[in-house]
Symmetry: C2
Subunit: 205 residues, 2 copies
DNA sequence: GCCTTTTGATACGACACCGTTCCACTTTCG
DNA sequence: CGAAAGTGGAACGGTGTCGTATCAAAAGGC
């Protein structure tokens, strides 16, 4: 129920704005918590504590702790999606060029917010997050096959190989972000792009 | 303390054998539980119930639920290790041949026990399991670089690319086992091996 | 047959997180 | 000022799991 029959501005902000601001605070606090303690320890209480809001407002914006994590992860995917689309926008070059642009945009987008990056890396810690990430893998695989490589989108081999590269990129990216890969960003991107380029030969193989 | 001062055979088996048998039952029950309900729901109680043993014997053999999961996962890695070493034992052929043998042995070893395969796929659900799997990735990456491909083991690019393939293989293998990849085993192995072969060209850039 | 080990099952206290509810306090508005 | 909406924090009951302790019955040794 909880019909908002009588609403009133508070401290000069409308009810709607206050609500939106709280939701935003919770999402930010969620990322902070993930960055500080990992997905597993990101409880509703931890998020509320960091946000400076009580649990009441948590459940105002999210059904449960899963919901806020999924929302934060989806926001990251949206950023990656946008970055890649922008990078591919005016490309007329060869596959090698498009691959490097794509990988570069991905790495930059994920690196932009290390907090979200940890969420991305640790997504498999939680079932719902893992499923979201699996969908994102599918989406990026689709993008790779259709818009970056010049291969038949219905070739199961090509799709499988592309998925392998997408998933493998996630793993090495996580390690690179953790500082475990002794490569600069350019070299790192080139290395991944090099594997991606090999995909163009797999479908017909 | 609990010094085994006075031990006695029971139902014709020595104390030591009974203990070992119980441990084995628990490990098997652990795999059953993982296969049935996933890693997250594989609790100490669930394992004991399936094993037909009380919690007392669970804590006789394992410190906590993490320990039994790690033990089960390590056992799987050992099987994979052995399978790959066997496959590579008498090879004198080219890299392409060694790669296909390796991938084939890996796929066969994991497919051999679908219960353990789910444990392998869902390992990131738990911190300790994830770490073990990360170590296994490193080990298999090392093996790939040193014994399968002919690349410089100190080349960071080559190592990174090999890690990408190892991790990516895990993901597609999980999907293949779930029936989500429309490829027969031979085709599937060849597809992965095809990507692996591309690694021979990455190191030199 | 009596005593001890072994076993299986249950009960227990502790803890953590969940999602809700309650309450005292602040701010708005008439 | 006083009534009503908004806020923050704490308390609560519920659930699930942990790891330990307890106890009666089954099985072996003498």
């Amino acid at each position: 129920m909880q019909v908002t029959e009588l609403v009133r501005p508070y401290r000069g902000v409308s009810a709607e704005d206050r609500r939106a601001r709280r939701r935003e605070q919770l999402l930010e606090a969620c990322l902070d918590a993930v960055a500080a303690s990992g997905v597993a320890d990101t409880t509703a209480e931890a998020i509320c504590g960091r946000a400076g809001l009580s649990k009441r407002y948590f459940y105002e914006s999210f059904a449960d702790r899963e919901a806020v994590l999924v929302a934060a992860l989806d926001r990251l995917f949206e950023a990656v999606r946008t970055a890649i689309n922008t990078a591919l926008a005016g490309t007329t070059g060869r596959a090698a060029d498009r691959i490097e642009r794509t990988v570069s945009a991905l790495v930059a987008a994920i690196s932009a917010d290390p907090r979200a990056a940890r969420l991305y890396v640790e997504a498999p810690r939680h079932r719902a997050l893992e499923q979201r990430r699996a969908l994102a893998f599918d989406e990026f695989t689709q993008l790779l096959v259709e818009r970056v490589l010049d291969v038949d989108p219905h070739d199961a081999r090509a799709r499988t190989a592309a998925l392998l590269v997408v998933a493998g990129t996630t793993e090495v990216l996580g390690r690179w972000l953790a500082g475990d890969v002794p490569l600069g960003e350019a070299e790192f991107v080139q290395t991944i792009a090099g594997i991606g380029l090999a995909l163009t030969a797999v479908g017909s193989g």
